[in-house]
Amino acid sequence: MQTFTSITAVAAPLLRDNIDTDIIIPSREMKSVSKTGLADGLFAGWRYLEIGGRDPNPEFVLNQPAYAGTAILLGGGNFGCGSSREHAVWALAEYGIRAVLAPSFAPIFHGNCVRNGIAPVKLPADAIAGIAGSVASNPAANQLTVDLRSMRVSLADGRHWSFEMGEEQREMLLEGLDAIDLTWKWRTQIENFVAADRKARPWIYLDNSVR
């Protein structure tokens, strides 16, 4: 997994609340059993003029020249709600988004970000609105920095905001670790747990005799 330490980039505002995963990647754009080939479908319903088409909608922020090279999204509350589809995060990552700032995240989306090298940064809505306002005058010049070591978001003009993140999530992003490998370090404890649990709760352990 790609590590995340710090990024400085253009930040694009998508300040509406409840941006759901079907807006991020419409179901119709998930065309095969694959984690790739999704960037094209990112925000398809907003980004293109026609459903299924590819003519860019000039009104959509990511299509505006000033926001070329966006790697940070500024979102509204409950960002990533709806369907659990990890495709939303795979599409963001493939497009080049490395961090999302929002007042709140839907829990599954938050977990999916962390497992794919995207930093989900929780900041109050007014802070995000303030950042969006500052960026808007000249997005390319007023780039935003998200730093996971110092746990700070800062603007080129020196203003900055601190944020918090769970230790486990932060470590995973910083180290780019594979969670399965990490978990196997607990193999003995897992085996001991299962052995004891089989006795305590035998009904949990099924065999293939019932189909």
């Binding site: 300040l15 509406r16 609340d17 409840n18 759901d20 079907d22 807006i23 419409p26 179901s27 119709r28 998930m30 065309k31 095969s32 059993v33 694959s34 984690k35 319903g45 459903i51 509204g76 509350g77 409950n78 709600c81 709806g82 369907s83 659990s84 589809r85 990890e86 495709h87 995060v89 709140s104 839907a106 829990p107 599954i108 977990g111 999916n112 497992r115 794919n116 769970g166 230790e167 486990e168 999530q169 470590e171 969670a179 399965i180 990490l182 978990t183 196997w184 607990w186 404890q189 897992i190 299962v194 709760r201 009904w203 949990i204 352990y205 099924l206 065999d207 293939n208 019932v210 189909r211």
Partner: protein, 477 residues
């Protein structure tokens, strides 16, 4: 002198029972008892696991169903109306076979929506941890389980190791006091909660539903209530075990049998919050005066009593920007009475409201009546078992005679996968759980409500108060 054990919440009990190791930052390594997959997001987990050279640790505790993109039109096959959908079906089948997991395949008489069949066959049991790469997995918490939706990468972790690393949520209790009125059901409880406390009201919480009104619900209604915990942004929703739970599970296929059942049931009866247990947050709602609820906008929090009008911005509980956009998208204006909105379609189905009791309540409204001219009405049973049971009771005749299509089970038009959909700007009354933009088709306008409200609206041709029809015999309403 003995020290009294500290009182625990049900969630704390579930957590401790599955805790293998405490990891830094409030994360627990938890044992996972059941993994469920479906062809939309589960196939990629199996495929990716295989590509990483890993295997499923305990296939007997992993299940998979074809529900999301299979057609629900009678005579279905692997071909679906979703472009490219067939590959999801065939690849899921191959992966499930290779992994040796139980697959509820397209033509299986036990096929159905994951959150309908898991309780139906006793796959979800009290005290289990259940995960599925699907946000409505919280439905299954109704059995006194810790059930929650995860991403595909987490699903791989659960499949490979039988565990997950979980950030411990805070605890919330939502108590519903009082007695539900006629024509008001579990769906209205969910909508009332989310309308009052917002679509992020449960963010960061594991929510226990409690109170007299919840105890009075049958198991299917409890599944409906827990289903929409995800629309509340909660990690999960669940309900303590009682006689309703135990009676529901007796004799189900994957539940323990005979003496093993008795032993398990004794353990399950411990699965409730201790009387003095403390929660991080508490909400209490009296349901006695509650009316049937309908949404007017594009978030489940945009729900109001069916007798109400579209609220002004100030009362909408939504930011000005979101409010304007919602009005525009839905093609409605503030002050319009909801019952003055005419509909193009009515949909009964989904993991929220497609079980036997849902179909019975809807059929009771439809019996002897006709769907209004020009309204397309569809009923999709939640599982093939529900479909068979409903047909044995003759409910299919009631639905058909009223003018409803009677489908094979699946998610169907609960969501738009790229295949079948309702039309652009069509107004749909739906027993599903999400009224997001384009959820049921590009630009489709969804109003969510209980199945009885959907049935009443289908008859009326506009959003309707089921309590009016419930009191009027057919032929006169």
């Amino acid at each position: 002198m003995t020290t009294q054990a500290a009182p625990l919440t049900l969630f704390e009990k579930l957590w401790r029972q599955h805790l293998i190791a405490e990891l830094p930052g409030g994360v627990g390594l938890l044992a996972i008892d059941r993994v469920f997959l479906h062809e939309r997001t589960g196939s990629i987990a199996l495929k990716s696991l295989h590509e990483a050279g890993r295997t499923v640790r305990d296939p007997a505790r992993v299940f998979c169903t074809m529900d999301h993109i299979v057609d629900t039109i009678p005579g279905r096959s692997d071909d679906t109306r979703m472009p490219g959908g067939k590959a999801f079906i065939t690849e899921t089948r191959a992966a499930a076979l290779a992994a040796g997991i139980r697959l509820f395949d397209v033509q299986d008489p036990d096929q159905g929506i994951v959150h309908v069949i898991s309780p139906e066959f006793g796959i979800a049991l009290p005290g289990t941890t259940i995960v599925c790469p699907d946000s409505h997995t919280c439905t299954q918490g109704a059995l006194g389980a810790f059930a929650w939706g995860i991403g595909s990468t987490e699903a791989e972790h659960a499949l490979a190791t039988g565990t997950l690393r979980v950030q411990k949520p805070n605890s919330m209790r939502v108590s519903f006091a009082g007695v539900l009125g006629v024509g008001v059901s579990a769906k209205d409880l969910s909508l009332a909660l989310i309308a009052r406390y917002g679509s992020v009201g449960g963010n960061g919480y594991a929510v226990e539903f409690a109170g007299a009104a919840v105890r009075a619900l049958d198991m299917e209604a409890r599944l409906t209530l827990c289903n929409m915990a995800t629309e509340f942004s909660a990690v999960t929703g669940f309900i303590a075990v009682d006689d309703v739970t135990i009676d529901y599970l007796r004799g189900r296929r994957y539940a323990p049998r005979a003496e093993a059942f008795t032993a398990a049931a004794a353990a399950w009866r411990e699965l409730l919050s201790d009387p003095a247990a403390r929660f991080d947050a508490e909400i209490e709602i009296d349901v006695t005066e509650l009316a049937p609820m309908v949404t007017w906008g594009t978030s489940p929090q945009h729900a109001v009593p069916v007798t109400a009008s579209i609220p002004d911005e100030i009362d909408s509980g939504t930011t000005p920007q979101s409010y304007q956009r919602a009005l525009e998208y839905m093609g409605v204006t503030a002050g319009t009475r909801l019952q003055d909105l005419s509909i193009d379609a009515a949909f009964i189905g989904s993991c929220t409201n497609s079980r036997m009791s849902d179909l019975r309540r809807a059929a009771a409204i439809l019996r002897g009546r006709k769907v209004a001219p020009g309204v397309r009405a569809i009923c999709v049973p939640g599982s093939m078992t529900v479909k068979r049971l409903a047909e044995a009771e003759g409910l299919d005749h009631v639905f058909r005679a009223a003018g409803f299509e009677w489908r094979e089970s699946g998610c169907s038009m609960c969501f738009f996968s790229g295949g079948e959909s309702f039309g652009k700007r069509e107004r749909v009354i739906s027993s599903t759980n999400r009224n997001f933009e384009s959820r049921q088709g590009p630009e489709t306008r969804t109003h969510i409500a209980s199945p009885e409200t959907v049935a009443a609206s289908a008859i009326a041709g506009h959003l309707a108060d089921v309590r009016m029809l419930a009191s009027v015999p057919p032929g006169q309403g």
